[in-house]
């Protein structure tokens, strides 16, 4: 299921095979097609862009947009399992494990024409390491950034820190000009200057942003597109109509219920299903009775029919979740299958808990999010069978966020996607109390997991780290601070004249590779 579905690429592959061509790229590029330059691409999506300031954003809507404007020292690979050169061409760890040396590309200029040097890199990393930033924690291991010469950057860590290369590939460590080119941070956020393939032309809050080709871009011949417009269109039906009507070329996250029709269509629009690191959860407020009792959490976990969720919510586009780490990460513990859907097991767990006769609680869902409302109704119906009376509380998105952050809720849905290829980020984000969001606001605090995560990050050997990560996931699985629901791909629908569109596992759009056939 998790591969690109594209009628034309299938045709292309067949042609290529018939012609005896050996090269096959798993994208929508036709074998006999060469990229054409020019054209304006419109992407429609529901997620807004909050800011173009790399150090201040925390949600995918902003992250994926600013990645088109800024570059990082390294880039994730397409499969999300490693890193590849970005603004740095070479990197190596010192023998004592404490220093990482990066060699910078010499021909890189910012979109305003000034050359990029190690000074810019140092400024960027120093800004990003501010602990007050949403992703400041990701740089916690960094002790100092040194600049021996204009093309060399040395990052010194407090202890040996294996995930450092992947940390250099995260959006928050995007390279900005030294001292923001003389602007204040606020001014810079409004008129960002980066080394990425595009630069910001205009942005209207609530409407979207238009990015135009960065003529100074260091990759010669790229980007192919003249401009991209990222338009915020909240309603899924409107997005689908705009794509069908040719007003947009890419629709981010079409309704799962439309995937079958899109697959069958074979007309001007096609469906792209890309592997993602997304994991969806039902989070408990583990500070509040009765959810401070692991038996209660396990009872609820046993009530959830994941196969039903995949059928009803994802229309088959996903897999039931077990371990809290996504299968897209090498750290994923495949032995953990999650608690199976079993009413008797749920009853047994409840009998061992502080509330053997059942209890009343609420599931908070976001207003307007019909998937959450549907999942809540499925869980509610099963819970009633073992004496747990659940009520659905509908809150608007801002109120729900506030309630979750203030630990003023019982149960709520949440998800995560990774921004770096190393498991360190999500192991902490979804497992360690101090990992950025108190375990996605479940407030689960397990010291043993925190210690193991700390230890794993210092190890260079992947096998040794994997062993620790497996243990962490097993501990977490026993406690069920959140119930992993499903692993889902990222789905996009796009016009068949869009080529080379292939978001990475980390979500990066990589629109510099995209071209339109005219």
């Amino acid at each position: 299921m998790k591969k690109l579905v594209c009628a034309k690429s299938f045709l292309g592959v067949t042609t290529a095979l018939l012609l005896g061509a050996s090269a096959f790229s798993p994208t929508c590029v036709l074998a006999d097609d060469t990229p054409q330059a020019g054209g304006d691409l419109v992407m429609v999506r529901s997620a807004p862009i909050q800011s173009f300031m790399p150090t201040l954003v925390a949600e995918n809507g902003s992250i994926w947009a600013l990645e088109e404007v800024f570059d990082t020292l390294l880039l994730p690979t397409e499969d999300g399992k490693g890193v590849q050169p970005g603004l740095a061409t070479e990197w190596k760890q010192s023998d004592d494990g404490l220093e990482w040396t990066f060699k910078l590309r010499s021909d890189v200029k910012f979109s305003d024409g000034t050359p990029m040097t190690s000074k810019d890199v140092k400024f960027s990393l120093d800004q990003a390491s501010n602990e007050a930033n949403p992703f400041g924690f990701i740089n916690a291991a960094i002790a100092e950034v040194k600049t021996p010469d204009a093309e060399t950057v040395v990052v010194r860590t407090k202890a040996p820190f294996a995930p450092l290369p992947s940390v250099m590939a995260i959006f928050s460590n995007s390279i900005v000009p030294d001292n923001y080119g003389g602007k204040s941070a606020e001014e810079f956020a409004k008129a960002p200057v980066g080394t990425g393939p595009f630069k910001l032309a205009e942005r209207t809050i609530g409407v979207g942003a238009r990015l135009v080709r960065n003529t100074e871009y260091w990759q010669k011949g790229k980007p192919y597109l003249d401009s991209i417009s990222i338009n915020e269109v909240a309603d899924g039906n409107t997005r689908a109509n705009q794509l069908m009507g040719g007003q947009a070329q890419i629709n981010e996250f079409p309704a799962y219920s439309s995937t079958q029709a899109l697959r069958a269509a074979g007309g001007d629009v096609t469906l792209g299903v890309f592997p993602s690191s997304r994991v969806d959860f039902l989070a408990f407020n583990t500070t509040k009775a009765p959810f401070d009792d692991a038996h209660v959490r396990r009872a609820i976990a046993s009530l959830i029919d994941r196969q039903a969720l995949i059928k009803v919510i994802l229309f088959g586009n996903g897999e039931p979740a077990g371990a809290y780490m996504s299968p897209s990460s090498w750290s994923h513990n495949a032995d953990i299958k999650g608690l199976p859907f079993d009413l008797d097991a749920a009853k047994k767990e409840l009998a061992q808990s502080n509330v053997p006769d059942g209890f009343s609680a609420t599931i908070s869902v976001e207003s307007g999010d019909s998937d959450q409302a549907t999942m809540a109704q499925i869980i509610l119906a099963q819970a009633a069978k073992i004496g747990i009376k659940l009520a659905i509380q509908v809150l608007d998105p801002a109120a729900l966020d506030e309630a979750r952050q203030a630990a003023n809720f019982d149960m709520a849905f949440t998800y995560n996607t990774t921004d770096i290829v190393d498991p360190d980020e999500i192991i902490r984000f979804a497992g360690v109390y101090d990992g950025g969001s108190h375990v996605q606001y479940s407030f689960y605090n397990n010291k043993e997991i925190a210690e193991k995560a700390e230890q794993a990050a210092t190890l260079g050997e992947q096998d040794a780290r994997k062993k620790l990560y497996d243990e962490i996931q097993a501990l977490w699985d026993k406690d069920q601070p959140m119930v992993p629901l499903y692993y889902s791909p990222e789905i996009y629908s796009f016009s068949t004249n869009v080529h080379g569109f292939h978001p990475y596992v980390t979500g990066n759009y990589n629109l510099s590779n995209v071209w339109l056939s005219h």
Binding site: N241, S257, A261, D305, V312, G368, A376, Q393, V394, D396
Partner: protein
């Protein structure tokens, strides 16, 4: 209106219908439409054997069939059953939500019209403040503060819609207070409460009753809108508004019935109630 001939005034029940069809077809059709819908809502358990909240993952998103008259939704729930039980919820709540504003508004209006003076001025300025806010903005913010659910809906509607009744009754009561009829009551030595509640109000309530009919339509609109935005009836309780919002994402996938069926139900019911309102207005106008 033409005078009725002696033959027409002494007719059978079918004759009454025929007369009504000629004189007041709006009222007749309105009563028919709403009557049928009410009957269906009341008899819901007789018209379907399905529980509107019963999920069946083996038969999700099915089209109409002998088993499921209108098909099933994404949770495999029977749409016909949800439509019927949704009608119960929406119509009942819309009608109940009229009662409080009707009583409060009419009483306040009668008092204002009878007494006038500073009391009238203060109450009417408060009324102005309430109506100065856009209706939906106020309702939505009230429900947001009170939390979603049946009681919040009733409270929110009551806080706002008493104003209309108060204004209607006040105007009528002022007119009546200036007549010889009122003078006669005063001279007759009747107490003020008795005058207001036994003599004044029965004479001015007809306009408020007509308005109440259109107010039920408005209430259906409010309840369905709130539920559509996720601020009204809490799922899984069926309601036409949450049925529409749950069905909306399936539009892009080419499944239209989930959204259209409850939408049509709202339109037909509102049309019926509007007809009754117009018909009543006509009927009462003739009498006066």
């Amino acid at each position: 209106m033409t005078a009725l001939s002696p033959f027409e005034s002494r007719t059978s029940s079918s004759g009454v219908l025929r007369k009504m069809l000629r004189n007041n077809p709006q009222l007749l059709f309105g009563l028919l439409i709403v009557g049928v819908i009410l009957l269906m809502a009341i008899c819901a358990p007789l018209l379907t054997s399905y529980d509107p909240t019963e999920q069946d993952f083996l038969s999700t998103l099915q089209g109409p069939s002998a088993d499921h008259l209108l098909g099933t939704d994404n949770l495999g729930r029977d749409l016909w059953a949800r439509l019927l039980y949704g009608a119960r919820v929406d119509l009942f709540l819309a009608s109940v939500a009229v009662v409080l504003p009707f009583i409060i508004g009419s009483t306040i209006g009668a008092l204002c019209g009878y007494f006038g003076g500073w009391f009238d001025t203060i109450v009417m300025r408060i009324a102005d403040i309430v109506v100065a806010f856009p209706f939906y903005v106020l309702v939505i913010s009230l429900v947001f503060i009170l939390g979603n659910g049946v009681s919040s809906i009733i409270v929110a509607i009551s806080i706002i819609s008493w104003v209309a009744y108060a204004r209607i009754i006040r105007a009528e009561a002022m007119v009546l207070s200036a007549t010889n009829f009122m003078d006669a009551l005063h001279v007759g030595g009747l107490g003020v409460p008795r005058i207001i509640f036994r003599h004044l109000m029965p004479n001015v309530l007809s306009q408020a009753i007509v308005y109440a009919m259109s107010d039920i339509v408005a209430n259906i609109g409010v309840i369905v809108t709130l539920s559509y935005f996720g601020l009204g009836i809490v799922p899984p309780t069926p309601d036409w508004g949450n049925m529409m919002s749950e069905g909306q994402p399936f539009f892009a996938g080419g499944i239209y019935t989930l959204m259209l069926i409850p939408a049509v139900a709202v339109i037909v019911t509102s049309y019926g109630l509007s007809l009754i309102g117009d018909g009543l207005a006509t009927a009462l106008r003739v009498k006066r």
